[in-house]
Symmetry: C3
Subunit: 395 residues, 3 copies
């Protein structure tokens, strides 16, 4: 781990600021802003390891709104809030969709009188999650401008239908550590591939987040999936454009083997096809249980044709020196462990298990960095102040 001074210097050199900017999609952030998050997360981790308190709020709420189940992101969000001195208050609206714009506007204000950060997971409805977050943001703007709110809380996207930035940024932090630097990522091949799973309906946000982020860093990104398992076309198009700009490359192939070939990194993970997710969204909205069951049956039977999309030792042998880094957002569907046939063989997963845990371990700091950069104008100064104060985290 770099020295604290170097990290601060890195932060200052970005010349970037995310002050009062919501973090919704990585591709709406500049390269410098993304680096800022990485460095601030690194600084927070450094201070944590040195048992130095990073508390910068004496009070204040961090509201979480999970419109889908979550364990690790929930804990990461809670850890991040706690690290900075914020208290989590969960907005539990059940599984129902808030249906009227008016109500979103009102609720957003009602939960925000003393709130600093709102973290939202809303990934079930294609075309809805990101829109919802923007609506919350506009509602908060309205409330702040009209003196309803003494501050305008920042929004952190904890997974929407389009992107999963806290995941992809944690993944990026992991890659940076693994390969030594962001520079080292240039020219590395990453295979973001679909993999078989006995469940269906998994969101598209992870693969989209990966291709939408890694194409920013000069990597050669290979997206692989069976025919008919495409992602949101706009995001795929964007990935291609970004790859060209950053000096990397982007391809879409229909073969796991092809993607794995000479890959430095593999990210095999199941998702539901774009058109299925679209249909599912319609049926969920209509509350049509019998059609949903039909759709699930159809989707699962489609999936079953692609059981060979499993990350096995044989597949891994296709990668660069047979030694590609295996990544996953967890939990993985592990063959013979969590299911009969899944995304990855037990052998491969076990080999990289600790690495995937470490990958997940970046998330609390990434989220804390998103919170901190949103709330503080000069984060480098704040971190220096915290380091100098040297208040012990544990007595």
């Amino acid at each position: 781990m770099a020295k604290f001074k170097e990290i601060i210097s890195n932060i200052e050199n970005t010349n970037a600021s995310l002050f009062q900017k919501d973090f919704l999609l990585t591709w709406n952030k500049s390269r410098e802003e993304l680096e800022l998050i990485l460095y601030v997360a690194e600084a927070l981790r450094k201070l944590y390891k040195n048992n130095i308190s990073t508390r910068c709020f004496d009070s204040g709420l961090a509201v979480s709104q999970f419109r889908d189940n979550s364990t690790r992101t929930r804990f990461s969000f809670a850890s991040a809030a706690n690290l900075l001195g914020l208290t989590v208050q969960d907005l539990d609206e059940g599984k129902s969709q808030i249906s009227h714009g008016e109500t979103v506007r009102e609720t957003s204000n009602m939960i925000s009188f003393l709130t600093e950060i709102i973290g939202i997971r809303d990934d079930m409805y294609l075309g809805a999650g990101h829109e919802y977050m923007k609506e919350v943001g506009a509602s908060l703007d309205d409330g702040f401008m009209n003196n309803v709110l003494p501050q305008r809380p920042g929004i952190v996207n904890l997974q929407c239908d389009i992107d999963h930035p806290t995941q992809s940024m944690a993944d990026l932090a992991h890659l940076r550590k693994w390969f030594g630097s962001l520079e080292e990522l240039k020219g590395k091949k990453i295979a973001m591939t679909w993999a078989y799973s006995p469940s269906y309906g998994k969101p598209l946000s992870v693969p989209q987040g990966i291709i939408g982020l890694m194409t920013r860093f000069g990597m050669n990104v290979s997206l692989a999936h069976p025919e008919g398992y495409g992602l949101i076309p706009d995001v795929v198009e964007l990935a291609g454009k970004q790859a060209a700009e950053s000096g990397g490359s982007f391809e879409v192939v229909n073969s796991m083997d092809e993607a794995f070939k000479d890959a430095d990194i593999v990210y095999p993970k199941s998702w539901a096809p774009f058109h299925i997710m679209g249909k599912r969204t319609e049926l969920l909205r209509a509350g049509d249980q019998s059609e949903l069951k039909e759709l699930e049956k159809e989707a699962l039977s489609n999936n079953a044709k692609h059981k060979d999309w499993e990350c096995t030792r044989d597949k891994m042998n296709l990668t660069k020196d047979g030694k590609a880094l295996y990544m996953h957002c967890l939990p993985a569907d592990i063959t013979d462990v969590s299911c009969k046939a899944g995304e990855v063989s037990a052998e491969v997963f076990e080999q990289y298990r600790i690495a995937t845990y470490k990958e997940a371990g970046y998330k609390p700091y990434i989220i804390a960095a998103m919170m901190m950069t949103n709330r503080f104008y000069d984060v480098a100064e704040l971190l220096k102040f915290l380091n100098k104060s040297n208040m012990p985290r544990v007595f």
Copy 2:
């Protein structure tokens, strides 16, 4: 907003103390005690805006017990606790009524060993909510006197069957700000009127809280509802008595137009008639689902006869210069927005939307003031100390 010194001076001039007194009903508090809450809330808000920490607990629990759904009061309570340094722990007993006195006595003690404040919402059962809070209070007295508890936690009524003091006090703070002072409220006409809603079973505590509080301040309070939609008779009687004492007036009319006429303030809000709520309580207790459905049907069909009880622009034109302040505890049933036909037209609500949000914004500070005055003997000294300490809330 007044200067901090003036606010402190106001607090000192009340000569009132709420130290170790539960806050259950506004009409059991003296005028000075009510003012004390307003001023302390104002001071807390002032310190918040000046980024000065109001943390006065290093540890301690604030227990919340919601026997009915809540979003805004839940967040207000959480915000208030957080503002003072308390941690919320929710007592989640499901929807079941605790049926034996013994159990209330036991539970009250078991949750209170390190607890400073207990906030309770219990508004579903007529004749039960306020009684429950008193029973909790007696149980805590018993535990404290017998050395079971190292301190006797204070109780804050977060809405019972009779009163909703955190709402009505927030409303009063809003009115004080809107009209400039409590003195200015003298002689102002407020129309607390029933309004049509497509739902039923809404508690009586808001209208009761309003007529029970505003009659203390020399206002001319007009309570309006269709025949058969009366409130608890004792509270209505009390309102009349209080109005006479404070130099205001109180009337009950059966016409929304009459109440609106020349009103300075209107508060149109649906509620279920007293006798319906009584019957409903019996059926809820008996768990008689089919009779409950019958009752709902009957009540809704009764409501439907009064769809003209809607706060429209035409109705607003009846008020003083057509410019009365519209108030609501939120969420309102807004015609064409949250329902087909409701309490208020979209046009009128939109005109006053920001005002109602601001009205709601007083609640966290009002609750914090109730907590603080309950726990600290000399609140003025404490607030001065906090101001002088000048510890930043956000670094």
Copy 3:
């Protein structure tokens, strides 16, 4: 209550350390380690009463995982965490059993990146709860050794299938206070007896915890239950061995009267027989609802044969001078109060009600002591530092 200096001196004299040791079973702890917990709990209580902050964490999570309902342990855990400056984050997995070793390993790490303490209640499945806690512990060891976790969180058993150490240690603290010292417990007779209850399926961990702990302190422990209501044989055997070693005695009798005879302390409490719990575990695992109903019917009809196992005034008259101390972990099934016929008569319970509340009042401090001794190498030094710092808990 002893002077603070004396308590510290007691702590130092134990020469014991529980630093980084999970607290799962009292019988795996040395006598000195158990005393350490008692003294640290006493010190924390002393500081609390003197309004001195015992906050020793500036941030950090205390994760709670309740696989069975809980009110008082939940509040005790929350209070303990709060007392030390930790924030509770609940791991809510519903009622489902985590079925795969892999998943436990992963989940344990995922919730632990910034976690100091994990408290677990898992008492429903015989043969599973304690095993689960050990598996969590091994998973955390694995994560810590592999640099996944920056610290290895400590585990506190909040009730498993075998032991309920936070309860039994709180009970011991209560007895120490009641009789003046641990020395005074030598030779005292405690009757841990089964009692009738109209419910079934109550865990064995309380009676096992009591016989497993009190036999360490030279007490004469009499375990009484109807034939066929035995506890886990290993624990019963252990109790006998421990009693012999500590200079006390241990007997198992099938008569409540015999156990009560000349007892100094009685602890009448219902539980489900070992073999029934075993069968129940199998059926719960199989999800066999109809067989579970059959089993419940059979168990309740067996229970009904022993309605005379009720702690009445007549039974109490059998104890030493008719004045034995009545104990219960609460809530008790009280005849004519919480049920028609239960574990204890209303008269006896009312006589000792306050005493049982006080008994429960030790739990937050016991849990806080388990947390603190797990996280800090030199607890005596820490407590002295906190006392000297003299930071007010409430301003």
